[in-house]
Every structure is written in structure tokens, then in C-alpha cells.
């Protein structure tokens, strides 16, 4: 589908904010978080959450009806997203007020510690609900499944952690935790991309048209050109070269660079390397999210493009001589 800027910024901003708050809570629990670092982290989290929240308004095309957005909490993940993201933003704003205006005295109180982890919980809840919005659409074949939820949350936390490293000098324990997170996210994202590839092969003429004969060629979509303007759930299929390039660039920035720089830090490299981690993570998450939307396969593509040639997925016996067709 078309990767629109509001969707990219909304989902990335939410993930960054959630990841930064998690890093903040992690550092706070480990001890040694200075007042100035704490202030910088909460401002950064609030800022990214605010940017994501503003972007969500541009995602709606008719704000006049926005007051009805909580009507379908019972069934709609988008209603739930509006609620949980609002809760996250609210709890984060309170955390920022407590940190900035009440200072060190507040930061050592048990209530502050509880509120910090409550913020983490609302952040993870908001990320989970947003991911469920995408993962529960059976027609969006690439997104349907638990991997989307896992990948969404892990990529969000990774990018937020990476950005937090700019202002928070992390100790060895945190870097090791980050290293584990990078490796885990890389595995999950790899499986997610494999799921995308599988979804592309699911566009079958037999279920889309009732046609038992395969292959088929689309002669006319019903208008003189594909209706990508009025139907945003489909988008021209990415060329294999472009897909591969974006995928490699995303993997390099999101996993390889942070992995290398983190190892360098652990081996005693200069602490300035953490800026490299942050920049790479931000760049990587943008590419990853662009690919998440741009490369998604919707079931209605069967009516807009030819069926892809698909080889049998079972092992073939190559020892037998080919059958001669009379």
C-alpha cells in the first residue's frame, strides 16, 4: 500500500517514544541516572510522541467526525489505538512534569519509580494496539499474523533505545542488553520479511476469480489505468531490485551498524560512537517502516496485476526422466 508520511511518522514516533521511556525506566532502575539526563530523556520522549500525535491528525481526512473516534472501542483497533495512545501521551506528560518541575526529590520517591514503569506499560500497550491494528487485517496478507506485532514492538524499542543513547551515556550492562535486543530484532524482522515474500505468492487467480485455469493475464482493470489514487490499499508492486536495496539498507542501518558500534563500545571504543548508533537506528527505522507499508500485499491486487509465476514449494525429484507429452 501507499506509504503516506503521516502513517510513517505516526508509527515511528510512537515506537521511538515507547523505546525512550523503556530506556529511561531501565536506566532509572539500574541507578546512576542524573537529573539533567532524566530531563533530556523525558523531553525527547515527549517530543517524539508529540510529533507522532500531530501526524495522526493528518492521517484523518475529515476532522469534523473525529469526535466519534471512540465509538467502536468494542471492535475497532483504531478506536483502541486512539485511546491507548492518548493514555500513553498523558502519562508521559505527567512524567515530564514530575521530572522537570519537581526535580531530584521527586525522582527518588517510590511513587515516581512506579509512575515511570506505568508509562512504560502504557507505551508498550499503545505499540501493541497499533501493531494489532495492522496484524488483524486478513486481507493485508503481508501483515496478517503475530510477527507483525512482535516486529513492530521490537523495532520501536530498538530505535527508541538507540536514540536515547545520544543523551544517556550507557554502561556496559545496558549495552549488552541493547546488543541482545538488536540480535533478537534482526531475527524477528528477517522472519517478518520472509512472511512478506510468502504473502506475495498468495495472490492466486483461482480464489480471486474462481478461474480454475492458471496462469491468467489481466487485460482490463475496469478503468483505463490502475486505480491507485482512489484505492490506497494497493500500490504498484516494488521491483525486486528496489525491494532488495531498501531491505539491505534497512538491515545495515538498523542491525549491522548498531551491532558493530555496540561491540566497539563494549571493547572500550570512544563513547562518541553512540551518536552513530542513534543516527543509524533512526535511518534504519524509516527505511524499515517505508518497506512495511510500500511492500505490503493486499488481496485485491489479484484484480490489478498478473498472477506471479510460482514454482512448486515441495522438493522435486530430479532423478526421473521428464514425461513425454504426446
Amino acid at each position: 500500500m501507499r506509504p503516506t508520511p503521516p502513517l510513517l511518522i505516526l508509527t515511528i514516533g510512537q515506537g521511538l517514544a515507547g523505546g525512550i521511556v523503556l530506556a529511561f525506566a531501565f536506566l532509572k532502575s539500574l541507578g546512576g541516572l542524573s537529573q539533567s539526563t532524566a530531563e533530556a530523556l523525558v523531553i525527547m520522549a515527549l517530543g517524539t510522541a508529540f510529533i507522532g500525535g500531530v501526524a495522526s491528525f493528518f492521517h484523518m481526512h475529515r476532522l469534523a467526525a473525529a469526535r466519534y473516534v471512540l465509538r467502536r472501542l468494542k471492535t475497532s483497533w483504531l478506536s483502541r489505538e486512539a485511546l491507548t495512545t492518548g493514555l500513553f501521551g498523558g502519562s508521559l506528560a505527567i512524567l515530564a512534569v514530575l521530572t522537570i518541575f519537581f526535580g531530584r526529590a521527586m525522582m527518588v520517591s517510590p511513587g515516581y519509580w512506579v509512575w515511570t514503569w506505568l508509562c512504560v506499560a502504557t507505551g508498550l500497550l499503545a505499540m501493541w494496539v497499533t501493531a494489532m491494528l495492522y496484524a488483524t487485517i486478513p486481507a493485508m496478507l503481508s501483515w496478517h499474523g503475530a510477527l507483525t506485532v512482535l516486529a513492530f514492538i521490537m523495532v520501536g524499542v530498538l530505535s527508541g533505545f538507540g536514540l536515547a543513547a545520544i543523551v544517556a551515556p550507557l554502561n556496559a550492562t545496558v549495552w549488552v542488553a541493547f546488543l541482545v535486543l538488536v540480535v533478537g530484532t534482526a531475527i524477528v524482522k528477517g522472519m517478518h520479511w520472509a512472511h512478506f515474500a510468502e504473502a506475495r505468492g498468495k495472490i492466486r487467480a483461482s480464489t480471486g476469480t474462481g478461474l480454475p485455469f492458471s496462469p491468467y493475464r489481466l487485460q482490463d482493470t475496469g478503468t483505463t489505468k490502475p486505480p491507485y489514487r482512489t484505492q490506497t490499499q494497493v500500490w504498484p508492486v516494488l521491483s525486486p531490485g528496489l525491494r532488495r536495496t531498501v531491505m539491505l539498507a534497512a538491515a545495515f542501518l538498523l542491525f549491522v551498524v548498531p551491532l558493530g558500534l555496540t561491540l566497539a563500545q563494549l571493547l572500550g571504543g570512544p563513547s562518541l560512537l553512540r551518536f552513530g548508533v542513534a543516527v543509524a537506528a533512526i535511518g534504519g527505522v524509516f527505511l524499515e517502516r517505508w518497506l512495511f507499508f510500500g511492500d505490503a500485499t493486499h488481496s485485491s491486487r489479484v484484480f490489478l496485476s498478473d498472477e506471479m509465476a510460482a514454482l512448486p514449494r515441495v522438493p522435486l525429484n530430479t532423478n526421473r526422466r521428464p514425461t513425454r507429452v504426446p
Partner: protein, 220 residues
Amino acid sequence: MQLTIITDLNKCVGCKSCQVSCKEHNTSGAFGPVPDESPYQDPDGMWWNRIVTMESGEYPNTSVLYLPKACMHCYDAPCVPVCPTGASYKREDNGVVLVDYDSCIGCQLCMWACPYGVREFDEEEGVVKKCTMCIDRIEDDSLPEKERQPACVQSCPTHARTFGDLDDPDSEVARLVQERQGFGLMPELGARPAVHYLPRRKAPSQVHPDELDIFMGERY
């Protein structure tokens, strides 16, 4: 009650009269919902009913299928529960899936949820629109009874389309689906579409490549 349209794929000749009559009916009048600001400059705008034309098989054994595709008014319409504002809804009395434009925020989530890609986004008004099964016609008591049916059904020159109540076992549409093995599209996605298609009765004649020259010589 579940109103539906059954299309006989044997009779459909791909003339697109249903596509054009849908556009004509839904753009006419002061409140026509289909945007058609400049029909002669931009004919690729919104269409609620599209005839998809597909060619299947390999030369010389090919065949062409015309598939009229509009809202399937599914029993378990996936576009309805995802709508955050309740703008998308399914009528209890006749099963028609509709959109309340006043409540729609234009988030397009219903377009992603629809497996068939039959919902379209109106850029002018910022809302999502779709086939209404000509609800304004079928509930218009001022029309003669035989005209109280969707424009696409009424305009079909080959009578390929039949309109009726699928839940009534005595109706024409229920009988056609039962007797002719009517099928819905993409059953694996679980939407249970109400709109059905009647399969083509026989496969095209098979021509062996060696016979092709003889066959073409006889014909031309």
C-alpha cells in the same frame, strides 16, 4: 434478509453497461455521491462497479472472463468492525453494507480491510464511498416495483445479473446459487460475501498445437 446480486459468468459479455449505469445513476441529481467533477478530463475517478477482464490459459487454448466487481455486501463484512467511528455499518433489515459519510473520518482502514478492493476514497470530501446496492432505488416507493432494483441489474442487456434475497430459500437468487453451484470470491479470507457468481458451464474447446493450422485454415 440479505439482499444480493448474482452474476452469471456465462451470460456476461463485458459490455460494461452495468459499470456505466452505476456511474450514471450515482452521479445524477443534486445528491449523487460519486464524484464526477470533470468526467471528460479525468475518466479514471471513482467507480463503484468495475468489470475486470482476464484472459486465462495459454495460446491457443485461451478464454476470457469478465468479472463485474462491486461491494459483496458480506455477511461478516470485515470493513464494518474496523471502522472507529461506526460510519461503516451493515443494515439489519436487508444486509446492505453502507457508509454514513457524516461520521466517516477518511482514515481508509475499511479500504485495507475489504478483501476485494471495492471501497474507494473520495478526495474531494475526504470520505470513503462504495456501492450502496442502489438503496435509494430499492426503497423508493414512488418507483414501479419492477424498477426497484440496482441500476446495474436493470441495465444488463443479457440479464446476467439477478437481484434478490439470498436468505429466502424460495427466491430466484437462492435457487440459482443452489442449483448452479454459485461461488463467492476469496472464501479463504472469511468475509462470507453475499454476492455470488455462477460458474461458466464448460471449458473452452481444446486445440492441439499440431491442429492449429488446419483449424485456422478451415475457419479463415
